[in-house]
């Protein structure tokens, strides 16, 4: 941290560009629904636009891109554990679906 400049200072222009970009990406995700895209194309586009938006918000608006690597690691790595939870719950949900199906068919 330097003494002369306090905190995170960047040109306003960056924020306006990211703002515009988020608008465009949101419009794209809305159009995915509007044009009734289905199947793999739909899911992959939704996830792609979501991750891009999330990335720009965290990196630029929340200034994570300019933080030291120690803070990036401390904040961005722990949520990866959640992938394990999501994986387990997806397997469990499928299992419940199948057992329910089997029970109701009998």
């Amino acid at each position: 941290m330097s003494e002369a400049k306090e905190g995170q200072q960047h040109p306003i222009r960056i924020y306006l560009w990211i703002w515009l970009l988020l608008f465009v990406l949101s419009t794209f995700s809305y159009l995915v629904d509007y044009y009734h895209l289905q199947g793999l194309l739909r899911w992959s586009l939704i996830i792609l636009f979501m991750l891009l938006k999330a990335g720009f918000i965290v990196a630029i608006f929340m200034h994570m891109a300019w933080e030291r690597l120690a803070l990036k690691f401390a904040i961005l790595l722990p949520p990866l554990c959640l992938l394990v939870l999501i994986g387990f719950m997806a397997i469990e949900g499928d299992y419940t679906f199948l057992t329910r199906g089997a029970a109701f068919l009998r």
Binding site: E6, Q8, L16, I18, S26, D33, F49, F61, L71, A74
Partner: protein, 224 residues
Amino acid sequence: MAHDAQAAAMSPLAQVAGDFSTDKQAFSVPWGKAMMWIFLLSDTFIFTCFLTSYMNVRLSTLSDWPNPSQVFSLHIGGQDIPLILIAIMTFVLITSSGTMAMAVNYGYRRNKRNTVLLMGATALLGATFVSMQAFEWTKLIMEGVRPWENPWGAPQFGSAFFMITGFHGLHVSAGVIYLLVVANRVRTGFYDKRGSYEMVEIAGLYWHFVDLVWVFIFAFFYLW
């Protein structure tokens, strides 16, 4: 400054190891900012638990899941426009994030007037978002959506909807109050006396997080 030059010469991983293992403060940011990040990390876990449980009930139900595109459509000018209210809410929240980012910037430049105005605009947009959400809830409740049933399909739809959007709306409402408190302190010169405008950036972190969570809710609940 010597520290920075030394750090720049190190490899990134050696810098991390140094930050964590040396007998000094681990994160080179104000402690309030580090704590806000850690709070947001815990909030990430809470919202992921909600979204994961929503995924689980949606996977395991035998009934059809109501089509959000139709459920959240509005009848405007003689035709149904799918998800239009949700799209507008998304744009409102993104705009509020943009004004907040600029408020933080003007705060560090010691431009009190612009900081207060932009934070006020952010709070106003946040309040608009909550109002639109209240309208959406009212509409769905009138149509017979309850946490245990709804007219269109899987009964779990209502509980997932009210829990996820309700908890997010609560965050937005709390954020609006938080922003107004901080904006008022900027106005009265509280941070000039303290000599630091980092509290504006910390409030900004919270506000951007609320926008961030909405990105995931929009993708997984409304578009999926």
